[in-house]
C-alpha cells in the first residue's frame, strides 16, 4: 500500500472546481453513503444477487473516482467487471481487502475534512 489512499492532486482539483466548502459537504456524503454500499455488496454476495453485487461495486468505484481514491476504485472496478460468477468467485478475504481500502480512504478523507 504505497499509493496514498486519496490522490492529493485529484482532491485539490476537486476543491478548485467545486469550491473547498462544497467539497466538505461532498466528503460528508461519501462518509454517509459508502458503509451502506459495502453492506449492499456483502448481502448481494450472500443472496447471489448478481445485479445488486455489480451495482454496489459500481457505486463504490464511482465515489472513489470522484475523490481520487485510485486503489479503492480499481479494486471496486474488478468486482464490478468480474461479478459474482468470477473464477475464483469473490471470497471473504477479497471483500475484507476492499473494506480495508475503503477504511483507509475514509480515514484519509476524514483527516482532510478536519484538516
Amino acid at each position: 500500500m504505497n499509493q496514498p489512499a486519496i490522490d492529493p492532486t485529484t482532491y485539490a482539483e476537486l476543491q478548485a472546481t467545486a469550491g473547498a466548502d462544497f467539497v466538505l459537504e461532498l466528503v460528508d456524503a461519501f462518509l454517509d453513503e459508502t458503509p451502506g454500499m459495502m453492506s449492499a455488496l456483502r448481502s448481494a454476495r450472500a443472496t447471489a444477487d448478481a445485479a445488486g453485487f455489480r451495482r454496489a461495486a459500481h457505486s463504490i468505484k464511482s465515489n472513489a473516482n470522484t475523490f481520487g481514491a485510485h486503489t479503492l476504485a480499481a479494486m471496486a472496478r474488478e468486482f464490478e467487471l468480474r461479478g459474482l460468477d468470477a473464477d475464483p468467485p469473490p471470497d471473504d478475504a477479497a471483500i475484507d481487502a476492499l473494506q480495508a481500502e475503503l477504511d483507509r480512504a475514509t480515514a484519509a478523507l476524514t483527516g482532510l475534512r478536519d484538516g
Binding site: 467545486a18 456524503a29 453513503e33 457505486s59 464511482s62
Partner: protein, 344 residues
C-alpha cells in the same frame, strides 16, 4: 449567455455524484432539480418542463436505458436533450445510449469544463429546434405542426369524417369603405384573435383565412371524438365573442358587426396540397362545399349560425335548434335540410 437560467434535471442514484453534478451546473447559472432514480425522474419530467436531462445509467428501480426508452415513446418528451454521465463499463453500453437517443455521453468522474461545454452545446441545439418548431406553428397551427412532426410531410389526402366550419363578417365590404385601412386591420386582428380562441378552445383548427372569412376543421389533422358538437360549441362562443366586441365598438362610437357561420359534417379528403416546396393542409369535398353554402345562406335565412343534418345529429338536444325549409343549393342534386342555432 444563451443558456442562462435553463432548467436541468440531474438523475443519479449516487448522492456524491448528484451533488457534484448539480454544483457544477449551478455554478454555470442553471436551475437544478435532482432525482435519485429513473422512475422519480420520469414522474418529474412528466409534471414540469425541463430543458435538459443529465442521466446516470446504473440505477436501482429504473435504470438510464429504460428512461431513454420511455422518453422515445413519449410524445411530449421524445426530443428532450439527454446527456448521459456514467462510469458504466464497456463501449457497447455507450453505443446503446447514443442509439437510444442520448445526445452525448460523458464518463465519470465528469470533467467540469467538458460538462459545461456539452451542456451549452445541447441547450443551444435545443434552442434552435424550439425556434424552428415555433416558426412551423406560427404558419401551420400546432396540430398540423404535430402531424408533420409525427408523420412527416407528404402530399396527398386521406378520407375522414370531420366537421367543417366557414365564417365571415356580414357587410364587410361596406364596412371597409366607411373606415380607414388601419381601422380595418385593427378590426380584423381583433376578430381573428377572438375567433381563433373560440375555435381552438374546442379543438378545431383554423386552416384558411381569406379577407374577413375563415375556414376551420374539427377532427383533422388530429382526430376529435365529438367534432360536430365541438364545432357547434365553438360557433356559440364565437357569436358571444362578437357581442362582447360589439359592446366595445359601440362604446367607441363604431358600428357593430355581425357574422355568419355555416357548419357541415361528413366525409372529407384531408391532406397536404400544393407542391413539394410549398404546401398547405386543407380539406376538400362535398362537406366543405356545403359548409361554405350554408355560411352564404345565413344572409338569406337571417340566422347567424346554420348547420346541416349530420351536424345536428351530433348534438344531444341541449342546444336549441330551429328546422328551416330545405334548400336546393347549387351543385346539389337533392334539397338539403338546414337547421338554425338559436343564438343571442
Amino acid at each position: 449567455m444563451a443558456e442562462s437560467g435553463a432548467r436541468l434535471l440531474v438523475v443519479d442514484d449516487n448522492k456524491v455524484n448528484r451533488l457534484l453534478l448539480a454544483r457544477g451546473l449551478e455554478m454555470q447559472g442553471h436551475r437544478l432539480a435532482l432525482a435519485e432514480n429513473g422512475r422519480v425522474a420520469l414522474a418529474m419530467l412528466r409534471s414540469e418542463p425541463f430543458d435538459l436531462l443529465i442521466l446516470d445509467i446504473e440505477m436501482p428501480e429504473m435504470d438510464g436505458f429504460e428512461v431513454l426508452e420511455q422518453l422515445k415513446t413519449d410524445r411530449r418528451l421524445y426530443d428532450l436533450p439527454v446527456i448521459v454521465t456514467s462510469s458504466v463499463e464497456g463501449l457497447a453500453n455507450i453505443v446503446r445510449c447514443i442509439e437510444l437517443g442520448a445526445e452525448d455521453y460523458l464518463s465519470k468522474p465528469v470533467n467540469a469544463v467538458l460538462l459545461k461545454a456539452r451542456v451549452s452545446a445541447s441547450l443551444e441545439k435545443k434552442r434552435l429546434r424550439d425556434q424552428q418548431k415555433d416558426l412551423v406553428r406560427r404558419f401551420a397551427t400546432s396540430e398540423v405542426a404535430q402531424d408533420l412532426q409525427q408523420s412527416g410531410f407528404s402530399l396527398g389526402g386521406r378520407r375522414i369524417t370531420a366537421t367543417v366550419m366557414f365564417s365571415d363578417i356580414r357587410g364587410f365590404t361596406t364596412l371597409v369603405e366607411q373606415q380607414s385601412p388601419e381601422e380595418t386591420i385593427e378590426l380584423l386582428n381583433a376578430y381573428y384573435a377572438l375567433m381563433f380562441d373560440a375555435i381552438s378552445g374546442q379543438g378545431g383548427v383554423v386552416n384558411q383565412m381569406i379577407g374577413d372569412g375563415l375556414m376551420a376543421i374539427f377532427g383533422a389533422p388530429l382526430p376529435l371524438a365529438d367534432h360536430g358538437a365541438a364545432a357547434v360549441r365553438a360557433a356559440l362562443e364565437m357569436t358571444e365573442m362578437i357581442e362582447l366586441l360589439n359592446a366595445e365598438r359601440v362604446a367607441a362610437g363604431k358600428p357593430p358587426i355581425a357574422i355568419g357561420i355555416g357548419i357541415a359534417t361528413g366525409e372529407v379528403v384531408a391532406g397536404y396540397t400544393g407542391t413539394q416546396a410549398r404546401a398547405t393542409y386543407t380539406c376538400i369535398g362535398d362537406t366543405v362545399n356545403l359548409a361554405a353554402r350554408l355560411e352564404a345562406h345565413t344572409k338569406v335565412a337571417q340566422h347567424a349560425v346554420l348547420i346541416d343534418g349530420p351536424t345536428r345529429a351530433c348534438l344531444d338536444g341541449a342546444v336549441p335548434i330551429d328546422a328551416l325549409e330545405a334548400v336546393q343549393f347549387k351543385g346539389k342534386a337533392q334539397p338539403v335540410e338546414v337547421f338554425a342555432l338559436r343564438v343571442g
